[in-house]
Symmetry: C2
Subunit: 326 residues, 2 copies
């Protein structure tokens, strides 16, 4: 059994806890938190430890799955934890991945551990499909669409507007853009042509809804470059109809082959996810298995999904995989 620790117990940590229950070759040793451990009750009754105890449990845990946030937690936490454990994180600030990689790599090489960063669906499964697509069809174009799904960052941005009480924002791919890609037109798409934004907003009592709507649709970076629709609803409606955290999207690779590029090909990888954090957690757990096995074979340092042979992710042996899945 591969012994797992979970560092951080938000949506992602709870998702990992659930995913481990479906993994026959892994067991959860405990959850590590910066809160008072006695204040935290886990879904499965898993033990709770203080984050400070992590350094004392290196004999008990094979892989620590880091479930903190990319903005404030992981840049330090992954580097620190990789000194003690094989680790996996879902660091998703794309622009900062190179510097995160460098810092974690130095730490994991020193400790002789394997540290997998940026394992989730984007970065993660989507990245894999961008890479495989380019490798197989070098003459072509990439497209990544997100949604339909909830963007936590955009929902938060709305909540910060004066008069807004609560909000849920959905990112939605523009159907005409998807169809153009599928038809092989290799379109050049602006930000506005790729995605719509749909917002469900609860206004505080007496708030100026027109002002809130204007503040949303003109907000730079978040909304101004998109066609955005705003619906005002009650808190009850928001809680009842928009409680889930669905997400997903599509990675396309289009490309041509043949001496005159006369043959077209389309690769489409599509995710439709009821729960964004639980799917991300499931990816983290599979890569935790890989981290453990690679370290057993003597590997160390920082790895991404690009550096990991797929067989390491699956509980079955290479022999069984060849006989049943190849």
């Amino acid at each position: 059994m591969i012994r797992i620790g979970i560092a951080g117990y938000g949506n992602l940590g709870r998702g990992v806890e659930c995913a481990l229950a479906s993994s026959k070759d892994m067991e959860l040793v405990g959850v590590f938190t910066r809160r008072d451990p006695s204040s935290l009750k886990t879904l499965t009754g898993a033990k709770v430890f203080s984050m400070e105890d992590a350094e004392k449990m290196t004999e008990d845990i094979d892989v620590m799955i880091l479930c903190g946030g990319s903005a404030n937690d992981l840049p330090k936490q992954t580097v620190e934890m990789a000194k003690l454990y094989n680790v996996v994180d879902s660091f998703d600030t794309h622009a900062k991945i190179p510097q995160h990689f460098a810092a974690v790599d130095a730490s994991a090489k020193e400790s002789g551990k394997v540290a997998v960063i940026s394992a989730g669906w984007d970065p993660g499964m989507f990245s894999l499909n961008r890479l495989y697509g380019q490798a197989v069809l070098p003459n072509g174009h990439d497209y990544t669409f997100w949604g339909k799904g909830v963007s936590q960052g955009h929902s938060d941005a709305i909540r910060r507007i004066d008069g807004a009480q609560d909000a849920r924002q959905y990112t939605i791919p523009v159907e005409a853009a998807l169809e153009s890609v599928r038809r092989g037109e290799d379109p050049e798409l602006t930000t506005r042509e790729k995605h719509l934004r749909e917002c469900f907003v609860v206004a505080k009592e007496g708030a100026d809804k027109a002002a809130i709507e204007k503040a949303i649709v003109t907000m730079p970076n978040y909304f101004a470059d998109y066609d955005t629709t705003v619906h005002f609803i009650s808190q009850e409606e928001l809680d009842r109809d928009h409680a889930g955290i669905p997400h997903g999207g599509i990675v396309f690779r289009t490309g041509t082959t043949g001496l005159q590029n006369e043959h077209r090909h389309l690769i489409e990888y599509k995710l439709t996810l009821d729960s964004n954090p639980e799917f991300t957690s499931s990816v983290l757990v599979a890569f935790a298995r890989a981290a453990y096995r690679m370290n057993l074979e003597g590997m160390c340092g920082c790895k991404t999904v690009f550096d990991i042979a797929p067989a390491y992710l699956h509980p079955e042996s290479g022999e069984t995989l060849r006989a049943t899945l190849l």
Copy 2:
């Protein structure tokens, strides 16, 4: 530059020749054939050698891409060539992969070369998606659908019928089955419920078309278990409208997460290919790059797509991949 040889010059060999023209880090040294080399003219003017010359050119070629057939060529050829070269093949007789792997592995371990087998789209890219899907969503179901596309084996089977002059058979997924999977119904599907077979047949002059049709739709293994439609057309129509070799298909993974399995997820990987052999060739070329690089790092033995870290397939460095694709 990675120096490539092509062994066998049918559709697949020509496809590799074209694909190499799109690979900036690879060059084609020549084509090896069992025919009289002087009788063979290549698409790009590449040199042609006799298959017997292969053993003399180990200093000139880094990877030999094997483009023979799975039934008669590859079981011997891959084993023999792996004694001399890093090799890649597209061996696609799924049931015989374990024994092919064992024979090639022994050969490649002795020579210290890397031999990649069963690289194409099924086995190949589809296998990868089956593996990733199971690893990430262990509570779930797999579905592989093929088509719409030409099945060479089924077309050949029709041509062998008395009175049939020529034929082209399309395998087509049943739309209702695809929709049921997408709706998350986890259907149990019979052979008949998954795929249709559509046949375009040229009858010889004076042949009994009703007898041909009956021979097709009742043919065991090939057609009897399917809903099959037969269209009689002229040779001109067949040549004009059915000259291409399109194919494709979909690998689905459905699965649930959450403590009560309350969240559903759907992964859909879809290929739409104008040219089955040219896409397969493109996959072979990407895995040839991997074979060369892995051997440079000291690896040897038989590998499948499951054993190869994705980064080996892409011409760019790990650093560039992390910065641009992750």
